[in-house]
Symmetry: C2
Subunit: 416 residues, 2 copies
């Protein structure tokens, strides 16, 4: 039989390592002949757009380059599979492709939405007696998948966030005048990545002085008070704020009027860093700057965590065995055994326990004032950012791997 | 005699290496006893705020940490020295401090404004028969100082810009829909750093597909046309744009009305990336994202160019000898001998030739359409981004050096 693998959702530094994990473990099993890559996530199965990974990955150097290349080698999608009774033709198209290529197991690397796809496909196959295994492999910088201790991609993003905020702290501290620097970090619903900025404290940094997560209601008044308090001790105050902080009821009306709340009436500020910059400048009349770490926090492979990359490969490799053992409708998970020395086991759970659910940052790891995190949070993050990859460089910049074979859709912008 | 050194202007990855260059060369000369650091640039001389660098730099590991720490160890300033007849008391305060610490030579690491300070101080000393040498050591990520082939700090910034845009290109190319990504790069007046994004082409990347510099008038209409043209060939169009692009006459009126031109009526767009994002979204109705590389492009020491750091140290070290040889009112420069193999000589010029002048990106290195740069530009940049530093890491992030001694002004935010 053959197998297929696809990458879905937002890019990370580790998602190509997971692709390699499936590939390099699959070749070890006699039961598996070919490994197909589905282009643009599940869309590749729908539109019959597969590539034979043996055509793409031909030597060891390519494997090393893929490991150090961020984002998704095979492209991605934001496609949410509809229920069968709404769109039966989609399921039929997927099945047609899987049958055409004699695929006995499908591995989907992704986050919450992708696990929903795994769940729906698996149910459909089981209900109809179709013997195709579907396994989810976790991936998201948000670290918000339930059941697993952490998700591949998170460690590298956390390493980038902590390193960058350390550098931003040096940059912001040069002048002898009071200043506030607000760093906006990804995380619509959960504060894991923003909280990871506190790793710096393990290195003796006091910065970031204030940390705000979506898990606590955000009061603008309290925020200004917090900064005033921090300014008594520090010329250069550094604030880490999650893009998804949710405004307290009292602030919503006002924020609406000032145009700082997004059009859909969500409780979060759109462009939270810039919005807070304006508010602080008005209230405190000091030098204020906002910095959005933007997509760099999820794609800066040059600073990826070696442990993250290694684990991403391992957990994906383990998924192959799980499918061959006859399981389906599962997501692979990490179980942390110990922090020091760090030790994790790889297991799996029913994907129902993960799909469409969110793992929030624990309330007990947020300080009482709601503007910082506890030592437990730092201890949790630290092992995940350890180690650096040995990079192949070309002309002074990291060498990357871009698909050379002609894909029906343009997923790169690289010369042949 | 003793000497003093100060750091000025915006932070870079190489300015602490230049501080080390002065320090480690000074200790080799019997004529020099102590090396003082002036805190917050020239302000330290004005307010008698010096530190003895022998108290700060005590062992080899500290030297290595300082070399890998971005921004200014001694703090910085944006102070422009007034003319003597306007503020004689400032000159007297500076002289008082220099005399108090028996300082025979002052080294000022900085950009255009700092060279103005070097020039004014030197003239004042010469006119009044005061035997204190003043030497400028170039530093700016903008690379816009005349006379020198390039400036320390530029190479590291260029390496960050090229590496990040490569990663952003991967990130932006994952979905099978048309998108435009606009990356805003520092450079108010000159396009050197934005042009350095073209280094990627040496690695086979087509991205960035379009590059806009302040040296050419920027037409919004032409910009939209350029993107339309690029979209015929690429799903994911990547644009590198300098923060300082200047609008053509026809665009200024319109940009004013939409609030996209800054309040001072300057011809540049304030928040150029965001402004262009809105314009493209409206005109082309596709997915558009703007990314500001922000201060990370000048402080990301974790990705500094080893050659840049080495050269910053060398040119500063050479400055010590120039002062001891009796020169004053000079700025150190690089003269490029060859590209391949790369070879530079270190010389010096009268600071008058540099102060308050700007070296623009050469017109002949901009393509005819005004939306890209030539191979000569790439050849120029490539040698400057070569090599990586071996980093001391602590807890998975680069170890940094922060002043431990009590400074009269808080220049850091680090625990003792």
């Amino acid at each position: 039989m053959n197998i297929a693998v696809a990458q879905s959702g937002g890019p990370t530094c580790a998602i190509n390592a997971s692709l390699l994990g499936v590939f390099s473990h699959a070749v070890k099993y006699d039961e598996i002949d070919l490994v197909y890559g589905s282009v643009n996530g599940i869309e590749g199965l729908i539109y019959d757009n597969l590539v034979n990974l043996f055509d793409i990955i031909t030597d060891d150097e390519e494997i090393e380059l893929i490991r150090q290349t961020p984002s998704t080698l095979l492209g991605s999608c934001r496609y949410k599979l509809p229920a069968y009774d709404k769109k039966p033709e989609i399921y039929e198209a997927i099945l047609r492709t899987l049958r055409k290529y004699d695929i006995g197991a499908f591995f989907y690397i992704g986050g919450n939405d992708s696990m929903d796809t795994v769940m729906k496909l698996d149910r459909h196959f089981k209900e109809n007696g179709i013997d195709i295994k579907v396994i989810g492999i976790p991936k998201t910088i948000d670290n918000d998948l339930p059941e697993t201790d952490h998700t591949p991609g998170f460690g590298s993003a956390a390493k980038y966030v902590a390193t960058s905020i350390q550098e931003i702290t040096r940059d912001s501290s040069v002048y002898s005048i009071a200043s506030v620097t607000i760093v906006e970090i990804m995380g619509r619903d959960t504060g894991w990545l923003t909280a990871s900025s506190a790793i710096l404290h393990a290195n003796g940094e006091i910065s970031p002085h204030l940390i705000y997560l979506p898990e606590k209601p955000f009061s603008i008044k309290q925020f200004i008070e917090d900064i005033r308090e921090a300014q008594k001790k520090h010329y250069a105050v550094i604030v880490a704020v999650s893009e998804g902080i949710s405004l307290s009821e009292e602030d919503i009306g006002e924020a609406f009027q000032s145009g700082n709340v997004d059009n859909f009436g969500h409780k979060y500020l759109s462009g939270v860093g810039k919005a807070l910059e304006k508010i602080v400048a008005k209230e405190l009349k000091c030098k204020v700057r906002s910095i959005e770490l933007n997509v760099m926090q999820r794609c800066s492979s040059h600073l990826s965590s070696k442990r993250d990359i290694t684990e991403a490969e391992r957990i994906a490799g383990a998924a192959v065995k799980v499918a061959l053992d006859g399981h389906s409708g599962k997501m692979m998970i990490f179980k942390r055994v110990a922090n020091r020395p760090y030790n994790v086991k790889i297991e799996f759970v029913d994907v129902e326990k993960v799909a469409n659910r969110v793992k929030y940052f624990p309330n007990e790891w947020i300080n009482e004032a709601g503007n910082g995190v506890t030592k437990e949070a730092i201890e949790y993050c630290l092992p995940l950012i350890q180690g650096e990859q040995n990079f192949h460089m070309l002309n002074g910049i990291p060498k990357q791997y871009v698909l050379k074979c002609a894909l029906p859709r343009d997923v790169g912008s690289h010369e042949p």
